[in-house]
Amino acid sequence: MRLRTWGYYLREAWKGIRVNGLMSLASASTVAISLLVLALTLILAVNLQHMTDVLESQVQIVAYLQPDFDRQWKDELIAKARAIPHVERVAFVTKEEGLARLREQLGSDAELLAAADEVGNPLPDALDVWVDDPSHIPGVVQALRSIESVDAVDYKQDVVQRLTTLSDGVRTLGLALVAMLSAATLFIISNTIRLTVFARRREVAIMKLVGATNGFIRWPFLLEGAILGLAGALAAAAAAWFGYEWFVQRVTQGLPFVPIIRAQPFLARLSEVLLLLGMLLGAAGSALSLRRFLRV
């Protein structure tokens, strides 16, 4: 295809956009809204996933030892625990440390532990165990249980599980929303292009009669759709870009311990995806209307 022909296509496409004015604006806006929702969904989903990963890496197993455990075997026990595959770190927690930790966790409800002061510390000594990947937790738990001085093994997966459910929910809901909005976008773009086709029907008819190929006739309309899609995508990408940068700044300043994805290169990739999708949506919407209105 010659460069000059592309120049012609672009000029014709631009003409169509100008002639349609408000409809073009409406089309680009729906693209922008759909893609912005998609961007929000992605931002949320990716961050939830990130949080889950971070928390998963923090999951620990607590192995409570027999009440009569003799601390002279402490090092040997730690070595045994460390030898279990996938165990990353092991820490010995004395029953005194355990009680202190519990007090701290309970805070104002610490008087519940008043009995402990009278009767004596009810907690046994324990091992805190970190695992390289949460999928290995069951295996490690199993192995810990088989160590004879271990009485009971406790592990926490609640938060992770809840986060996983949440991020699944966000993903499903977000994608459903995006699918709906995309359908609406296709609809309005195809209607916009149909207006252009209608405004040019006389010209198109004559083009056909003097021997223009269908490809030649279609390209300006496809480009018109793609440009509308791209314009909407640019707006969505810009909003997502500046919005997220601002958000990251606020979070890192205000809540530094909350793990979120850094702005770059995430935003660069996100923008690429948005622009590509916008163009595809636009061209597809246009193709949809051409299929019906440009019969030979």
Partner: protein
């Protein structure tokens, strides 16, 4: 092959109508000049539409430029049409474009280079006598001039066949004769010309082959200049 038209047993029935063409057998050779006559509704426009694939024959075989139109692939139709110039009964000029742009239109949409276009358009406008109107809009021209513009557009791609549907319909005799002279000139350059008309004075004056249609049938096919053609 280029410039020849053959219809064998062609019929055309529009949905829920009586047939517009019935068992038409006509052969037109390269370089011929043929009138297609008949009263309103006889089937002249339908005859022409079949030749450039705006309509498909219900029955029979049509061969144009060596191509069997029953078997032509949709994507080849544009290339067939580039070989057939058509002057429509209602001109069909683009009202928002200048005469130059209208005449250049077939060249633009078939991807001629700018240089080729700038050489071809003035030559064609010169031929039809519209050089001074290149920058006018169609509505600024008289009926005869618009007809010339339509003719210029039809021959811009230098087709091997020129189809003209009532090219003198709304013109006074002087203008009508001028248009017909142009047609003859184009024909002299080797283009096959088919003119649909019911203007008898012109047909009689020109003494050319006449295919006469009545209610969709060819009722006579005579060539005063040569031997009688087979119907």
């Amino acid at each position: 092959m280029a410039g020849t038209i053959t219809l064998i047993g062609v019929s055309k029935v529009y949905p829920s109508r009586r047939p517009a063409l019935v068992d038409v057998n006509v052969h037109i050779d390269k370089g011929e000049f043929v009138f297609l006559t008949g009263s309103s509704g006889a089937g002249k426009t339908t005859f022409m539409r079949l030749l450039y694939c705006e309509e498909r024959a219900t029955e029979g075989q049509i061969i144009v430029n060596g191509r069997d139109l029953n078997r032509i692939r949709p994507r080849h139709i544009p290339y067939l049409r580039r070989q057939i110039g058509v002057v429509f009964q209602d001109y069909r000029l683009l009202p928002e474009r200048t005469i130059w742009e209208n005449v250049a239109f077939p060249l633009v949409v078939t991807e001629w280079s700018r240089r080729e276009i700038e050489r071809r358009v003035p030559a064609v406008l010169e031929l039809v006598g519209l050089r001074d109107h290149a920058q006018s809009l169609p509505r600024e021209l008289s009926g005869g001039e618009q007809q010339r513009a339509a003719l210029a557009r039809a021959i811009a791609l230098n087709p091997s066949i020129l189809l003209a549907d009532e090219p003198t319909g709304n013109l006074d005799p002087a203008n009508a004769n001028a248009i017909m002279d142009l047609m003859e000139e184009i024909n002299r350059m080797g283009t096959t010309v088919v003119v649909a008309t019911h203007a008898e004075t012109i047909v009689n004056r020109m003494r050319r082959r006449v295919v006469h249609l009545h209610a969709g049938r060819v009722v006579s096919d005579e060539d005063p200049g040569r031997y009688r053609h087979e119907a």
